[in-house]
């Protein structure tokens, strides 16, 4: 207590000294050094060590404070029992050899493929097609999927027809999207299964860029499902 009084008194003395005497900075510093030297002599090593230890002990808490405090709780909701599963049967079409500018239909025409939702939630489904490529060298030769229903040189057409509807619907590429709406709100189980067929029209005869007979062309029709 006495020591604290001495410290307070010394600071006060220094303050008064600065204000009243209007000395130069150099003189003030010299005076302050003298005062602090006296103080340091009075403060024992033990007190200084305790002060340093307290500051060091506080550092982790201060660091935690510096990182900022979070009061919210992150919530992740995911019902693991919900399952998405769509079955397509058959998944491939044995079309065989195709000639130029000719149409091919699945057999049976409208009920060739059955789509069943085997999951436990309703699903929106979408459909899109892709270019057909020569399997041996996809970059060398391909048929571009038509986006207007007409075939051309190295341009082929794909359609689907639903069993419960009349008329073929064009399948387009939609590279960046998920495709056109196919069966929205597809219900679960065999009771809600859907059937459809496909139609393909080959490119017209090409006098310049043809590939060798017997070559395999490969394409895909992507049927996407997302929970309603």
């Amino acid at each position: 207590m006495v020591k604290l009084s001495v410290i307070g008194f010394s600071h006060f003395k220094f303050f008064v000294f600065l204000v009243l005497k209007s000395l130069t900075n150099r003189q003030a510093i010299i005076y302050y050094e003298q005062v602090l030297s006296k103080l340091a002599g009075k403060i024992s090593t033990r007190i200084a060590s305790v002060a340093l230890a307290v500051i060091l002990a506080l550092i982790p808490s201060l660091l935690a404070l510096a990182e900022g405090s979070g009061t919210g709780t992150i919530t992740i909701t995911a019902t693991t029992k919900t399952v998405l599963e769509i079955e397509l049967n058959p998944p491939s079409w044995e079309i065989g050899q195709v000639g130029p500018d000719t149409e091919y239909k699945t057999n049976p025409e409208k009920t060739w493929c059955t789509m069943t939702n085997r999951g436990n939630c309703m699903a929106n489904t979408y459909i899109k097609g892709d270019d057909a490529v020569w399997t041996e060298s996809p970059s060398v030769y391909k048929w571009t999927l038509s986006d207007d229903g007409s075939n051309g040189t190295q341009v082929y057409v794909l359609w689907y027809e639903k069993a419960d509807q009349v008329g073929y619907v064009l399948i387009s590429k939609d590279e960046s999207g998920i495709g056109s709406e196919f069966y929205p709100g597809l219900g679960m189980g065999d009771g809600n299964k859907k059937q459809f067929g496909l139609k393909l029209k080959a490119p017209v005869a090409d006098y310049e860029n043809y590939f060798y007979g017997g070559g395999e062309m490969e394409t895909h029709i992507i049927i996407s499902g997302v929970a309603v």
């Binding site: 399952v83 998405l84 058959p90 998944p91 044995e94 195709v98 393909l200 007979g213 490969e218 394409t219």
Partner: protein
């Protein structure tokens, strides 16, 4: 005559086979179908698992990507996810025959005030690598809502201040203790 021969040759040349291999139907499933992350502060990350169930008798590799759905396909009041790179996951997963595999997905939002208090939607796409003519592709809805609070990194200024304060205190004590030490008398 020459032109007719050329045309016949061309028809033969254009005759192509549309993958006549016979393939049995197989299916796979994914779970969950929707993941909702709420109150995620910008600067923090959240993780969850997806399960892919391969119901075929052979192993299959699945390709995982992200897809930003159109506004009409998103849930109500959900905006487009700003950057698909904030969602990280393995891009290929091999699942053994008649087995399940878990896929860890991490969503990390950068620590910026402009990402606070937002509601976004992005889809995770899962499709088999080996494809038949008809391919099934699943989309998992990922709904992310950020909190108003921004989780900042360490406050560098405060840390520097603490370190500087401790150093100054230590130097001060050392300096003044040296000054008050009595000098050795000269002989």
């Amino acid at each position: 005559m020459a032109r007719q021969i050329k045309y016949i040759c061309l028809i033969v040349a254009l005759s192509a086979i549309f993958l006549p291999s016979f393939v049995m139907a197989w299916s796979f499933s994914v779970s969950p179908v929707e993941v909702k992350i709420d109150n995620l502060p910008p600067g923090e990350a959240a993780e969850f698992n997806l399960t892919i169930d391969n119901k075929d008798n052979t192993s299959h590799t699945f390709i995982l990507t992200t897809h930003n759905p159109e506004e009409s396909e998103r849930r109500q009041r959900r905006a487009e996810f700003p950057n698909s790179n904030w969602v990280s996951f393995p891009h290929q997963v091999e699942v053994q025959a008649n087995s399940e595999a878990e896929v860890r997905v991490k969503v990390a939002i950068p620590s910026q005030q402009k990402w606070a208090g937002k509601d976004w939607e992005i889809w995770l796409s899962i499709t088999p690598e080996e494809k038949e003519l008809l391919v099934v592709n699943y989309y998992i809805r990922l709904l992310v809502s950020t909190s108003e609070e921004v989780k900042g990194g360490p406050n560098i200024a405060l840390i520097v201040g603490i370190v500087a304060g401790v150093l100054l205190l230590a130097c001060g004590i050392y300096y003044f203790r040296r000054k008050v030490k009595p000098r050795h008398p000269r002989h």
